[in-house]
Symmetry: C2
């Protein structure tokens, strides 16, 4: 496979604008996209941000990320050999840009070439069994030998075994923190070893120390980078099953390694197989499913064409109240809000952006939206 | 569930005729059925046997089982508490009579009532792991508690564990030898314990010591008695996989217990799941599939109505040569032989019966038939 996309590169000024926007309070990947779509660019969106959040009812002034901080982050990242690749640029991994909440900027350290290999995630339990570790190694080695990049999360157990076995052929570790906060610390050497033929990637700010809630959110990138994911040993309600759920939502193939019904570490994988995941005893099982998929061109989802509506398209107070009043505890598609409110789609989106930026909405302005989520505050990527 | 069938009982004279016919040389369950269909009864078939075999080219006189021997077998069996239940009689297990090669007479020791419970086979490796044994016990106990009879082969390992765990609820052991030759000998006590609530069944003659080739043949009865079979631990090319193959041919449900890809005892079961068997981690997985099936009436296959053609329908020498000449190394349906030879179906069947009884054919006169099988002599139920 060649480069991931035919996109053009951002200017360094635009890259700074993008970084400022995605690092501002309450701006996630979906909100970023909605803002850029609505205002026609990151710079105009940044200018509109404080006012939007205030109208959404923000209790305190929304922090807009400063240009100085963004410049400092870019400089520090560069010193560590980290490049910020923007959505749509040639180096951006082509499968990742298909997901709804693809990071606008991906911080990449190592070989960007590995991002364009067909990729398979190999994930699983931290407290893996000896057999599980041995199987993960064998699988990752065989997938690497078949020219797949092996993607995982650098965790103890299965993740580390998968990375180690594919160091020579190319492996990608997705970090839950910034590049200067590799977690766990005992895997700093492993992370360094990955750089020779592989890459470390992160969407999180330089300097960000990973918290528990960052790991599920990170998992969507593990599945998003790949054509399929293989779960090797997973208890019920484990992080690997969150990755499997993301994989399903992203239309990725899900594979699982079976185990004894008496082994709690196989409960999650056996359940996945019951639910339709492909049973894997050998890399050939994975390759047989993925080869035909990889042979086909990737279908990029059709982006809704939308002319920037500019500062003119602002809701009046009555219009805003009418739209907010339509939100209830049950999620409702944006199309319904448009129809029921009688407002234009652009106005409805602005009102939802306002609520979002006030820290009062879900991260999913492009997804069904409900007052319930709004009340519970910002929803993160939790299980 | 009540009795298996509304059939009528044979007279003791008829039962002796049936026993003589099925115990005669080269008469298997399919040939038995073809002979009785053609001659209108076992006694007429017995009378025709020597001549049929001679015309088929038997090198030596075909042994017709003597009435004295049959009487002796019935007497010895009775002394041990064994009853001979004939196909079509009320006590004959209703699912078993649906298979093509159902034994005309089933020798039953123990409680015939258990034959009318919905049944599930639990089979697997003789050299099972501790976890496999523990799982088999749990599964059999839970299936028993859900009013299923547990069927197995009385072998060491998984079979014995399944029987032991279902002694109180009812378990059926299918023997590969006669009732006076329980195998392995160390399971004689287990066999005795089964009798209280369950049954031992066999199609083999009293006095028959089981040989290696009798076990695969026996396995078709294990699956035939059941609505589904569960394979717990099985290496590749193991006897349990033969049972699974029979189950598929008999349209029974196939279930398999997963295991680590690094455990050779799970290779067979993981392969079955890859091929579409239902993954089982719990008795509920089995019950969920079987309950709806058990709720439906059993569809008995429509038997081809055929008037006995009597001794008049005998092939001439030229007709016989023409039909034999049509047989080649590739199996050919009997319908094709009828069409190509220009002979009546009855005549074609008689010629095939002749070859069969001469010990020169496959056991499958109702199945595609070929010269190749004829040359290799009688084919048994091998893997």
């Amino acid at each position: 496979m060649g480069k991931g996309s035919d996109g053009v590169r951002l200017s360094e000024e635009q890259r700074l604008d993008w970084l400022c926007l995605i690092r501002s309070d309450n701006v996630g990947p979906r909100t970023f996209r909605a803002l850029v779509n609505h205002y026609g660019g990151a710079r105009a969106a940044l200018a509109a941000l404080p006012d939007l959040a205030r109208r959404g009812g923000a209790s305190r002034a929304t922090r807009v990320h400063s240009r100085q901080d963004a410049e400092r982050e870019l400089k520090a990242a560069k010193a560590l050999g980290v490049a910020f690749v923007a959505l749509g640029e040639p180096d951006y991994p082509c499968r990742l840009q298909m997901i709804d909440d693809a990071p606008p900027l991906l911080a990449v350290r190592g070989q960007t070439a590995v991002l364009h290999l067909p990729a398979v995630a190999v994930v699983g339990a931290r407290n893996a069994s000896a057999a599980g570790l041995r199987f993960a190694e064998r699988l990752a080695r065989d997938l690497g030998a078949a020219d797949f990049a092996v993607v995982s999360g650098l965790a103890r157990g299965i993740d580390a075994a998968a990375h180690r076995a594919s160091l020579a052929t190319g492996t990608i570790a997705v970090l839950a923190g910034g590049h200067d906060h590799v977690y766990p610390r005992e895997h700093v050497d492993l992370a360094d070893a990955i750089l020779a033929q592989g890459a470390l990637v992160s969407e999180m700010p330089f300097g960000h120390e990973p918290r528990a809630r960052d790991f599920p959110r990170r998992n969507r990138l593990i599945s998003g980078l790949c054509a399929g994911i293989v779960v090797v040993e997973a208890a019920k309600r484990s992080g690997s099953l969150i990755t499997a759920r993301f994989a399903l939502e992203q239309s990725r193939e899900v594979f699982a390694v079976p185990g004894s019904p008496l082994d709690p570490r196989a409960e999650g994988t056996n359940d996945l197989i019951k639910q339709g995941a492909t049973l894997v005893t050998d890399a050939a099982d994975v390759i047989a499913v993925l080869r035909p998929i990889l042979g086909k061109p990737i279908e990029l989802r059709a982006e809704e064409p939308e002319a920037p509506s500019g500062p003119g398209a602002e809701p009046g107070a009555g219009e805003r109240a009418r739209i907010v009043g339509l939100l209830g505890p049950t999620p409702v598609p944006i199309d319904d809000l448009v129809r029921l409110s009688g407002s234009s789609p652009a106005i409805v989106r602005v009102v939802l952006l306002e609520l979002e930026l006030a820290g009062d909405g879900s991260n999913a302005t492009a997804a069904p939206w409900c007052r319930c989520c709004r009340r519970r505050g910002r929803r993160n990527f939790s299980a």
